[in-house]
C-alpha cells in the first residue's frame, strides 16, 4: 500500500537549534497514526512542517502522492482542502459564532447553496453533539465544547486526512472518550486518515493503529502500541512506565 503521507530526511530548525533531525516517516491510508514523545521533542513542529505552517531546512514531504515541500501556494491550497487540522486550543475565530466558524470552509471552497451550507453546519454540530451551540461565540464555550466545535470546523469538508494536536488534552475522561469514539467513527464513515499528536495514554490505547515515537527530533520507534510497550528502548519504557 502506498503511503498517504511520506516524509523523507526532514530537518527543521529554529535559528541554530535543530528540532527535527533527518526524520523519515510514512502514514498509510485510513490508519490512525499517533505521534508520541516527550515535551519539546518536535512533535508539533513535525505536524506544522507537514501542513507547511513551517518550512523545513531540508528533506521532502509528500501528501496524497504529491511533493508539497516547495509546492506553489495555489497548488498546495488544493491539497489543503482535503486536509483538516484540529489545533490544540481550537483556534476558532473569536469574532464569529460557532456556526459561522464551521461555515467558513464550506462557503469558501464549495459552490453549495446557502440552505445546504446551513444544513451541513447543523449536521456537523449534531455530529459533535453541539446541536444548540451554533449561535454562541467561542468565548461562551467550555474547553471541551471549544475542541468539539473546532473538530466540527476541521471536518466541514469531509477531509481525507485529519491532523490533531493534542485533541483530548485538558478534557475530562468522559468527554475525551467521546471525542475518541467520534474520531473512530469519522475514520470509518469518511475513510479518513488521522495523524494525532497526543500524550494521553488512555486515548492512545483507544484509537492508535500505529505509534511514531520521537526523541530529540529523531524517530526512535514506529510500530503498534503493543510493540511499543515491549520495546527495549529506555525512553519508550519510561514513557509507558513512568
Amino acid at each position: 500500500m502506498n503511503p498517504i503521507i511520506q516524509v523523507r530526511n526532514l530537518t527543521a530548525q529554529y535559528d541554530e537549534e535543530i528540532v527535527l533531525d533527518d526524520l523519515s516517516i510514512d502514514v498509510y491510508p485510513n490508519e490512525i497514526a499517533i505521534i508520541l514523545g516527550k515535551s519539546g521533542c518536535g512533535k508539533t513542529t513535525l505536524l506544522k512542517n507537514i501542513i507547511r505552517l513551517y518550512q523545513p531546512s531540508s528533506g521532502t514531504i509528500e501528501i496524497l502522492g504529491q511533493d508539497v515541500t516547495w509546492m506553489e501556494e495555489i497548488e498546495f491550497n488544493k491539497i489543503l482542502r482535503k486536509i483538516g487540522v484540529l489545533f490544540q486550543n481550537g483556534a476558532l475565530l473569536n469574532s464569529l459564532t460557532v456556526a459561522d466558524n464551521i461555515a467558513i470552509p464550506l462557503e469558501q471552497h464549495t459552490d453549495l447553496p446557502p440552505s445546504l451550507i446551513r444544513r451541513l453546519v447543523r449536521e456537523k454540530l449534531h455530529l459533535v453533539e453541539l446541536d444548540n451551540a451554533g449561535s454562541l461565540l467561542p468565548s461562551q464555550l467550555s474547553g471541551g465544547m471549544r475542541k468539539r466545535a473546532a473538530l466540527a470546523r476541521a471536518i466541514a469538508l469531509d477531509p481525507l486526512i485529519l491532523f490533531g494536536d493534542e485533541p483530548t488534552a485538558g478534557l475530562d475522561p468522559v468527554t475525551a472518550a467521546a471525542l475518541d469514539q467520534l474520531l473512530l467513527k469519522l475514520r470509518r464513515l469518511l475513510n479518513m486518515t488521522l495523524v494525532i499528536v497526543t500524550h494521553e495514554l488512555t486515548s492512545i490505547q483507544r484509537i492508535a493503529d500505529r505509534i511514531i515515537f520521537l526523541d530529540r527530533g529523531k524517530v526512535i520507534f514506529q510500530g503498534t502500541l503493543d510493540a511499543a510497550k515491549q520495546s527495549s528502548i529506555s525512553t519508550i519504557q519510561r514513557f509507558f512506565n513512568p
Binding site: 464549495t110 445546504l116 451541513l120 451554533g134 469538508l157
Partner: protein, 368 residues
Amino acid sequence: MAEISIQKNIIYLSGELEVPSIRSILEQVKNAMTSNDVPQIIFDLSELTKIDSAGVALLDEIKARFSAPDRSIQFLNTPPQIQEAIVSFSIVDLPAESAAIRKSFFESIGERVYKTITNSGDLLFLIADIFYWSIIGLFRRKGQREGSFIQQSVLIGVNAFAIVGLISFLIGFILALQSAAQLRQFGANIFIADLIGIAMLKEMGPMMTAIVVAGRSGSAIASEIATMVVTEEIDALKTMSLNPIRYVVVPKFHGITLTMPLLTVFSDFLGILGGFIIGITYLQLSATAFLNELVTVLILKDVLTGLFKSVIFAWIIIIVACYFGLKVTGGSEGVGKATTASVVASIFFVIVADSILGLIFYFNQPIY
C-alpha cells in the same frame, strides 16, 4: 461524480454523491419536481457507491424542500455503507432550530438603563479603589513590583517625548502661520507671541499631549489589562493574594501622574518654538521683541492652569483605560473592542473635561 436519471416517478442516483456534484444534482431534482406532480417520488439509491456529509445534507434538503401533504418522497434500496453514513450524518429527525427570542422595545430600554447604572457603579468603585491604593502606595511599596513605577514612567512618559514634541512643534507652527496672515493686515504682528503663548500653555499643550498619550499609552494600558483578564492573569494575582489594582494599575497611575505634566511643559515649549520661528521669519519680528512680549503676557497662573489640566487628563486616561481593560469579555475580539472603546472614550472625556475646566478658568482670569 454522481449521476442522475429520471424515469416517471423514480429518480435513480448513482456514483459518488459528494460535494462537487451536489449543486447540479439539486438543480436537476428541482426541475424534475416542478414538472412532476405524481403523489409519490421514489429515489433509488442502489447504485450509489459513496456519499459524504454534503450528500446526506442534499438528501435531507430534498426531503424537507419537496415533501408535501399531497406528495411523499422515499429513498429506497440504500446500500448498507450508504445507510450508515445517512444515519450518522442526517439531522432530518432533529427539531427545527429555535428562533432567537427578541426583546421588546421597553425591555431593551430597561436593560440599557440597568446596565448604565451598574456600569456607573463599577466605575465609581474603580475610581475609589485606584485613588485609595495610589495614596497607600505612596507610603507602602508592598504589593507592588520593585521598579514598576520607573518602568511605567519610562513607557508612558519618556518614550512619548519625541512624538509629543514633534506634534506640538507642528501645531505651534501651523497655528502661528494661519494667524500671521490675519495679524499682519492690522499691523499687529507682535501679538503672535501672545496668541501662541496663551494658546499653547492653556489649551493646546495639555490637550495635544493628552490626545497623544491617550492614543499611545491609553490604548496600550487598556489592551495590556484586557489581555491579562482574558488570559486569567488577573485571577492568578487575586489567588496569590495580590490586589490587581495595586499591583498593575497603581504604578501606571503614578507614572502617568508624574510624566503628563512634564510632557505638557515640553509640549508648551516646542509649540511656542514653532510660533517663534514663524514670528521671526514670516512676520520679521526680532527674537528679543517676541520673547519680551511672551514674558509680559504670560503669568504663572497660565502655566499652572495647563499643568492642572494635564494631571486631570492623565487621571481620565488611566481610569478609562483600566475600566475598559478590566470590563473586557470574550477573547482576542474583546481585547480589540476594549482598546478601541478606551481610546475613543478617553479622548471624548478629555475634551469634555477641557471644556468644563475652560469655563471655570474663564470666569477667574485676569483682564489683559
